[in-house]
């Protein structure tokens, strides 16, 4: 008695399926930003710190400053490019740190159950209830400005964000029969958790991390805006917006609007991409 596998054809068909335009655009934009940040010293038309009071607050398209200049005459395009380094890396750090912490705590709570779960969950609720910006500001107040402290503080306050989702998915997934079937095959709890439970938690985690990336970017920009993050003259999108305050009041909004637009587009792109990755991993298991 033999059986054939009709599935092989279906699979190659799926490979040809095109990804949505929005995802392609998002990926393109993020690649563009990454390249711009990495190659800023080569690509940037001007030095990000070169001031020129004669050329201050130029609108976009004016002469050799494609995106105009800010109130001290620094080239906005160059500053956005250099700023991409910190503005992308710092939220990435937050996401990775909070992801690792959240996975560990969430899985522990889900697998331990009972009072350990209760203690961990209430602990997460408490951290969750504490405003992340406030925590970051407190930490900065203690350690002085700089990026390391706010990254760690934000990572801690984002941990419950990840941990709660991981916990709930892990509980749900851990109750499925295949968990038991691997135990019955003689695998230990830790092995099954890391090798079989964790991969099944990943789709949700990736989608969640993309959201967290957006929040972290905005939070870090807010900290910079408040003057607590990046120290001037280092470029960073948040601090660019912050420094454009007075210019905006003078009716010259470009030097603030453009970095703001970049923040917006980045957050949207990351969300679109995260959603897509999460969705396609989930789709694979549902058999679409």
């Amino acid at each position: 008695m033999t059986l054939t596998i009709p599935a092989l054809r279906a699979r190659s068909a799926r490979r040809r399926r095109r990804r949505p335009l929005a995802v392609s655009l998002a990926v393109a934009f993020l690649i563009l930003l990454t390249v711009a940040g990495l190659l800023a010293p080569v690509l940037a038309p001007h030095s990000p710190d070169a001031t020129s009071l004669l050329n201050s607050l130029l609108p976009p398209g004016a002469g050799e400053h494609w995106l105009g200049t800010d109130s001290t005459g620094r080239d906005v395009l160059s500053r956005i490019m250099y700023g991409a380094r910190l503005s992308l890396l710092a939220p990435l750090g937050v996401v990775l740190l909070s992801g690792v912490l959240g996975i560990a705590i969430g899985l522990l709570a889900a697998r331990a159950g009972g009072w350990a779960d209760a203690v961990i969950s209430r602990g997460m609720d408490i951290v969750f209830a504490f405003p992340s910006l406030l925590l970051a500001m407190l930490v900065v107040a203690v350690t002085g400005p700089g990026l390391t402290a706010p990254i760690c503080a934000l990572a801690v306050s984002y941990t419950p964000f990840v941990g709660r989702v991981v916990r709930s998915v892990a509980i749900q997934e851990g109750a499925r029969p295949y968990m038991e079937s691997y135990r019955v095959m003689g695998f230990g709890v830790l092995w099954v958790t890391l090798r079989h439970l964790l991969p099944n938690v990943m789709p949700v985690l990736i989608a969640q991390s993309a959201l967290a990336f957006g929040y972290a970017l905005v939070d870090l920009a807010s900290l910079s805006y408040l003057g607590l993050g990046v120290r001037p003259p280092d470029a960073d999108w948040g601090s660019m917006i912050s420094q454009a305050r007075s210019a905006i009041l003078q009716g010259e909004p470009w030097s603030g609007l453009l970095p703001g637009l970049v923040v917006l587009l980045t957050v949207v792109s990351v969300n679109v991409l995260g959603e897509h990755i999460g969705g396609s991993i989930a789709g694979k298991r549902e058999g679409s």
């Binding site: 029969p177 295949y178 003689g186 058999g287």
Partner: protein, 339 residues
């Protein structure tokens, strides 16, 4: 069916033909299980599966069939306490430590579940499933891929190489159950616990899977505990059948005797409640009342409140198993049922 009379000699055929001293694949005696909250789940369950024997465990949902099978591998519900004796291939399961249990599950006893789709991690390929199991069971890394192919071939899957690269969702339920069976029998275990292995499959696939199971079992001399609520199936393939009700074994009978001469009123009632394609048309009779769990069953015989034959004496003690025809029935009036 192109199934393996593989190189391994069937273990049950001891070279000296010795019968008496063969240890059982599974021996459960006097097993009682209580949750941490004091809710009883199983009481005084005794089940024996010899080498190469197929033993059925039938009963309604919630009667404790699966629980009994799981206990054989030491998979107790959280916080449950078990008393009695459970031995699988000479390992005292209830006393065994974690390491010993894992060793047992890895090499000597396997379990297959109702829904194969639910019992394989959906995000891993079939090949990963098999090789992971094989590696854990001590097959050297070099030999793993070949062995996996061999196993798939044995359970009748064409193009095993392609199958290894497939994801579970690309397989039908029946094929997936074959994969699971291949994995479960890869170590030639002494005991195979089959927890309703065909319930999720359609009837023709069911027949094929059963045939495959029996063939594999014959080839390896594996003892099989077949948990099901399909009475016809149990009677057809099992050497002996245990009937469970409310966490207790109420009847033990031979496979054929189950239909021929049911001794316990519950068994009789179950048979009357299931339709048959043979013989005259008979009205199907439901059993009055609702199934009880052990926790809320009456004193004495658990089936007392639904039994047409029950008398005052049934309330006094839980009836002992007494022989009746080919059966052992836990009833004071075995075989007195008038249809």
């Amino acid at each position: 069916m192109r199934v393996l009379a593989k190189k391994t000699p069937a273990r049950r055929e001891a070279p000296d033909g010795g019968a008496g001293d063969r240890r059982d694949a599974l021996g459960v005696s006097g097993l009682s299980l209580t949750l941490g909250t004091g809710v009883p789940l199983l009481a005084d369950v005794t089940v024996r599966v010899g080498r190469g024997e197929t033993v059925g465990l039938v009963g309604e949902s919630g009667s404790g069939k699966s629980l009994t099978a799981r206990t054989a591998l030491g998979m107790l519900p959280r916080g449950a306490r078990a008393t009695g004796e459970v031995t699988v291939a000479d390992v005292d399961v209830l006393a065994a430590g974690r390491r010993r249990l894992r060793e047992l599950r890895r090499t000597r006893a396997s379990m297959i579940f109702q829904d194969p789709r639910a019992s394989i991690n959906p995000v891993r390929r079939i090949g990963d499933y098999l090789t992971e199991g094989l590696r854990a069971r001590g097959v050297p890394a070099r030999a793993v891929a070949g062995r996996a192919l061999e196993l798939l071939d044995q359970v009748g899957i064409r193009d095993p190489g392609g199958a290894l690269r497939c994801f579970p969702h690309e397989f039908s339920g029946g094929m997936l159950q074959r994969v699971v069976i291949a994995g479960a029998l890869s170590t030639e275990p002494e005991l195979l616990l089959a927890d309703e292995p065909t319930t999720a499959l359609d009837v023709t696939t069911q027949a094929e899977v059963i045939a495959l199971l029996k063939d594999m079992q014959r080839a390896h001399g594996t003892g099989m505990l077949f948990v099901t609520h399909d009475l016809d199936l149990a009677a057809a393939i099992c050497d002996r059948v245990y009937v469970m009700y409310a966490g207790r074994i109420v009847e033990e009978s031979t496979g054929s005797g189950l239909f021929g001469a049911p001794a316990h009123p519950y068994t009789r009632a179950l048979l009357e409640a299931s339709p048959s394609v043979h013989g005259d048309r008979v009205a199907i009779r439901a059993i009055a009342g609702r199934p009880r769990s052990l926790a809320d069953s009456p004193t004495g015989c658990s089936f007392r409140d639904r039994c047409p034959l029950a008398g005052d004496d049934c309330a006094e003690t839980v009836p002992a198993h007494r022989p009746h025809g080919q059966s052992l029935a836990a009833c004071l009036r075995p075989g007195q049922v008038t249809p």
